[in-house]
């Protein structure tokens, strides 16, 4: 148990990547914190592009035939790019590349990632993938409009916008992204397994780290499926193979393909696509758990159950993919299996929701901005999760699939909910990243606008789905079964969407303003227990911990431990350093006695 063996990896600060100049400090930086910020800014930037694209789509849907710059081609291009950017280039990159990078070393008590150079390479590769993606806006024919699922044969055929070049750029960009993610992912996993501070057992890790850890493993195992399908589709497109292309006509012309299977692509795509949902959701689950525990001053309820649920969801997420394909024409008998597995995954997910609620129960809830967003998350996630049960139940999916119900569902569960957590996390960790608080008043405007606005968008949207309005329609035109009033609904959704979009500018302003003018925060403004708040410098310096690494003595959730003076004990406080209340009067802490002894035992 000597310090030396342990320092072999994590304690060693390699001189070679100590920043010396501006460039090596902020541009070609190998510091996980700088890389995290680079990842975050890039992801938020490209996310804003996607936000604008969604606004354009909504303009067409809310007020059809009013805007001459939107035609069916560009509409589909907006849909596709919006979806792909949001899911992969924003959410995955921000949650894992941004928060993962920032929080992993700090929360587990390491000096940096174990492979800092690889980490830097990961960011620049990611940036390259973003550039290639955005470049597709400027090539002949524009970006692909095949829908974010990129289903062949139409994705590569004339008749779909971007079939000339856009699809190739998209596939190349995805392949580059996967390389970037794999570099980052190997780093995260290895760091979590190898570079934890002394005493940081797996079960003492904060749930944030658990979420990121399992999500990263999911990503490492799921992204190859996307890579395989991208490579094979690229071959079909560029050299005329027939992996996914059966004998077909293209706009009336017989083209030279035969025998391929479009459904095979769908299986590959969703074998990636469903775990992808949890690649986004699990880090969000983790982070929201920590935000709730900290701001409710209470230990996370049922920590073990929470960890098991994360692991179980991660495992199950690989055997539910075909629930996206109930009406795809696959072997219909698969429906039984996948409906069952899908509904089973609801159980661990429900447990997580219960445990968040039970964490709040008998807590001492500070309604800070992060907490507001966390509460908002519980609400939206419950809503989205429950509609997911409807779609997962195979026959209920029959009338609802490919309608706006699906769009509303996945935006609720995979758009709004993780974004709520992202905001909670940004408001929560911003003081550590910059040393300043974000402005509370602006934060409130941002929260209420986002929370109420998104609900005003997506609740009515479910009802368009019940009506049977199909998704990915440029215009509905006149039909005999959709009442005129549906258009009013659409218009109101668009108005809400634009309001929500504009509110985000308040947030962006708040970010920039607070970096310079925000109220100063100390090292541990929220009185949190986890290690990242225990650094002696804020923002933490290169190497994070000063001369010696922290030693972990307890789990991450010692909030309001009975008999202890403060209502939190940081993870690195040794048992003999815990300051007890002088003399306990007795009565109120009966059930806390067991844990109370903890301080005395060692």
């Amino acid at each position: 148990m000597t310090q030396t063996t342990h320092t072999a990896i994590a304690d060693q600060v390699d001189d070679s990547h100590h920043p010396k100049s501006f460039i090596s400090k902020y541009v070609w930086s190998q510091d996980h914190k700088v890389i995290a910020i680079q990842y975050s800014i890039t992801a938020i930037g490209v996310g804003l592009v996607a936000l604008v694209l969604s606004g354009m789509m909504r303009l067409q849907l809310g007020f059809p035939d009013q805007f001459s710059f939107i035609d069916p081609s560009s509409y589909l291009q907006f849909v596709t790019m919006h979806g792909m950017i949001m899911v992969i280039y924003l959410l995955t990159a921000l949650l894992l590349g941004g928060f993962g990078n920032y929080l992993i070393p700090l929360m587990i008590g390491a000096r940096d990632m174990v492979f800092p150079y690889l980490n830097m390479l990961s960011y620049w590769t990611y940036l390259l993938s973003v550039i290639v993606l955005l470049a597709s806006f400027f090539v002949t024919g524009g970006p692909t409009g095949a829908g974010w699922t990129l289903y062949p044969p139409q994705a590569v055929l004339n008749g779909t916008p971007g079939a000339e070049n856009g699809i190739v750029f998209m596939l190349i960009s995805l392949a580059i992204f996967i390389v970037a993610f794999t570099m980052g992912g190997l780093n995260y996993v290895t760091t979590i397994l190898q570079a934890r501070a002394k005493g940081m057992t797996l079960m003492r890790m904060p749930l944030t780290i658990w979420g990121i850890f399992v999500a990263t493993i999911l990503g490492l195992l799921a992204f190859p499926a996307l890579l395989v399908s991208a490579i094979m589709m690229m071959f079909d497109k560029l050299v005329g193979t027939s992996f996914f292309m059966p004998a077909i006509l293209s706009l009336g012309e017989n083209i030279d393909h035969k025998g391929g299977s479009p459904i095979l692509f769908q299986h590959l795509f969703w074998f990636f696509g469903h775990p992808e949902v949890y690649i986004v959701a699990l880090p969000a689950f983790g982070m929201v758990s920590d935000v709730i525990a900290t701001h409710a001053r209470k230990n996370i309820f049922g920590y073990r159950m929470m960890v098991w649920a994360i692991v179980a969801i991660g495992g199950l997420s690989f055997v539910v993919w075909a629930h996206h394909m109930y009406v795809s024409g696959m072997n219909p008998y698969f429906g039984f299996f996948f409906a069952t597995t899908t509904l089973i995954i609801a159980v661990p997910t429900a447990i997580k929701v219960y445990n968040w609620l039970l964490t709040l129960w008998q807590g001492n809830i500070h309604l800070t901005i992060p907490m507001l967003f966390a509460i908002g998350f519980i609400f939206t996630f419950t809503h989205g999760g429950l509609t997911g049960l409807m779609l997962g139940n195979v026959v209920v999916d029959l009338p609802l699939s490919d309608t706006y119900f699906v769009v509303a569902h996945f935006h609720m569960v995979m758009g709004v909910s993780p974004v709520m957590v992202l905001f909670a996390a940004i408001y929560h960790w911003f003081p550590k990243v910059t040393g300043k608080f974000l402005h509370t008043g602006l934060g409130k405007i941002h929260f209420w606008g986002t929370f109420l606005g998104t609900y005003a968008i997506y609740l009515p949207m479910h009802y368009l789905g019940f009506l049977g309005v199909p998704r990915r329609y440029f215009a509905m035109g006149t039909t005999d079964f959709i009442p005129e009033s549906a258009q009013a609904l659409n218009a109101s959704i668009t108005v809400s969407a634009i309001i929500v979009g504009v509110i985000q500018l308040v947030f962006i302003f708040n970010l920039i303003w607070s970096v310079f003018k925000g109220k100063k925060a100390g090292d541990n403004p929220w009185n949190a227990t986890t290690l990242e708040w225990q650094t002696t410098k804020t923002p933490p310096v290169h190497g994070n911990w000063g001369p010696s690494l922290p030693v972990v003595h307890r789990w991450a959730y010692d909030y309001s431990v009975p008999g202890v003076k403060d209502d939190f004990i940081p993870q690195n406080v040794a048992p003999d350093q815990v300051i007890m209340i002088e003399k306990v009067e007795g009565a109120e802490n009966v059930e806390g006695m067991e844990s109370n002894q903890k301080g005395d035992n060692t």
């Binding site: 035609d71 081609s73 589909l76 289903y151 044969p153 139409q154 059966p246 004998a247 077909i248 293209s250 706009l251 009336g252 409710a296 001053r297 209470k298 230990n299 049922g302 159950m305 795809s328 409906a339 089973i344 609801a346 159980v347 447990i351 609620l357 709040l360 129960w361 807590g363 809830i365 507001l372 609400f379 429950l386 509609t387 409807m390 139940n393 026959v395 209920v396 029959l398 009338p399 699939s401 490919d402 309608t403 109420l452 009802y463 019940f466 049977g468 199909p470 990915r472 329609y473 215009a475 039909t479 079964f481 009442p483 009033s485 959730y557 909030y559 309001s560 059930e591 806390g592 844990s595």
Partner: protein, 456 residues
């Protein structure tokens, strides 16, 4: 505090929205009441959970707000409570899943006595095929598809000879008989969905998928494509007409079999020439079109398109709108053609006419026109040469004044509005992309530049 109240209000608001909302499933028109029942069960279970969880959330947030005199309770876990919650959730989930699986089993097992129809999807149209008297659909192959044989039937397969081909966006089926719908695609993925029937399934090129239902209401129901199939995905509509048994028989007797469709002669040039004399007065001796008489150019028009339009005029599907005087005139004139054979002959003759290049005087913005034409080009072709397989007529060579007049007619619903104009509705949707007169002028001017060297 506010957040607790807002959450309660949102829960109440959602419930009110749910109950007063006029937006709900369209009335069921098939046997799939069981699907609606499953939806209701699921909705009840999930709805109750939604209300309970969020009211509890609001209560907790309200009850345990920060108070500096209070300390949070310390309780790492409560295995018993968590066990109970898990068990209750599992029961709820099983309660939703079990009925769902039973209904799914009945969805994938087609009743023995079902009629079979085949639905063929292509960008962006529907067509249909019935097995005919032998009850068996003939073999097909993509490679065999041609203008003469749009279904790609194998002529060597005898079971295909009596297949009934319905090359139109409209299908008829008899009421109260279960029907197994075989789904086939010629190009990309499509999805056959009729909201009132509740069931849907993708059409996957290279394989045949299926679904089944039993229509229980007489009427006309819209078919929507619900799997993204390219630019004009949203215009890929069709209809299923559910008929009484007698009406269905009447309709069926009017349809052509594959053998009959192959036997239609090419057309008689002599007879066509004779018949065309009646048209020449307005459309010109060479079919060049005369602006002062509001008569479009006919020369070189594909015969399939001429035939369809003449049939529309005859059946009062086109040219009935009060604002379309020349259309009304044409509708009367078309009655002069006695039968299908006459239409066939005159269309054949018109196709053979070779006029001079049309003079174009439109002065729109060509680069804007080119941009706008991108949406048209998928069906009408890069050179506006027309495409039988996309049901799109040739546009190049046509007079600019006629094109802009027709585009306006489509936009205003003067043309294409008739329920039996099965292709016009598509053009109505597309014409809305041209927001104003200027846009129409631009695109028509651009089309005018395309006929160089193309006119026969």
């Amino acid at each position: 505090m506010a957040i607790a109240i807002v959450i309660v209000l949102l829960v109440i608001g959602s419930l009110i929205f749910h109950y007063v909302s006029p937006w709900w499933f369209t009335p069921l028109a098939s046997n799939w009441g069981a699907i609606d029942d499953t939806i209701n069960i699921t909705l009840w279970v999930t709805g109750i959970v939604f209300v309970l969880v969020n009211l509890f959330l609001a209560y907790v947030v309200f009850r345990f707000q920060y108070n500096k005199n209070r300390r949070a309770h310390y309780e790492p876990e409560n295995t018993k409570l968590e066990g109970w919650l898990t068990a209750i959730t599992a029961i709820g989930v099983a309660g939703m899943l079990a009925p769902g699986l039973f209904v799914w089993a009945s969805f994938i097992n087609v009743p023995q006595e079902s009629d079979v129809i085949e639905v063929v999807g292509q960008q962006w149209h529907w067509s249909f095929r019935l097995p005919g008297n032998d009850g068996e659909l003939g073999r097909t192959a993509i490679a065999l598809i041609s203008e003469k044989n749009p279904f790609g039937l194998d002529t060597k397969d005898s079971s295909g000879q009596d297949d009934i081909l319905i090359l139109s966006n409209e299908m008829h089926i008899p009421i109260d008989r279960p029907v197994k719908v075989l789904l086939r695609s010629k190009d990309v993925l499509h999805n056959f969905a009729v909201p009132q029937f509740r069931v849907k399934m993708d059409l996957v090129p290279g394989t045949v998928t299926y679904l089944w239902f039993k229509p229980t209401k007489i009427g006309r129901f819209e078919i929507l494509c619900e799997e993204l199939c390219g630019v004009a995905h949203y215009t890929m509509r069709g209809s299923v007409v559910v008929d009484s048994a007698e009406d269905y028989q009447t309709w069926l007797s009017e349809q052509q079999t594959f053998a009959q469709s192959m036997a239609v002669p090419l057309g008689d040039m002599e007879k066509g020439w004779e018949l065309y004399a009646g048209c020449a007065g307005c459309h010109g001796a060479q079919g060049e079109g005369i602006k002062s008489l509001n008569a479009p150019r006919l020369a070189g028009m594909s015969s399939w398109y001429t035939k369809r339009q003449l049939a529309y005029f005859q059946k009062k599907i086109r040219g009935t709108d009060a604002n379309d005087t020349s259309g009304q005139l044409m509708s009367q004139m078309s009655q002069l053609l006695a039968d299908k054979a006459a239409i066939n002959d005159v269309a054949f003759y018109i196709n053979s006419l070779k006029p001079d290049e049309a003079a174009h005087s439109s002065t729109g913005d060509l680069s804007k026109g080119k941009q706008l034409f991108r949406s048209c080009s998928y069906c009408h072709g890069e050179k506006a040469e027309g495409n039988f397989f996309m049901n799109a007529p040739k546009l190049s060579g046509q007079h600019d004044w006629y094109l802009s007049q027709q585009l306006n007619n489509y936009k205003k619903g003067i043309r294409g509005n008739h329920p039996f104009d099965l292709y016009g509705s598509q053009m109505m949707l597309m014409s809305r992309l041209l927001h104003d007169e200027k846009a129409i002028l631009d695109v028509v001017s651009y089309i005018g530049t395309l006929d160089k060297g193309l006119s026969k």
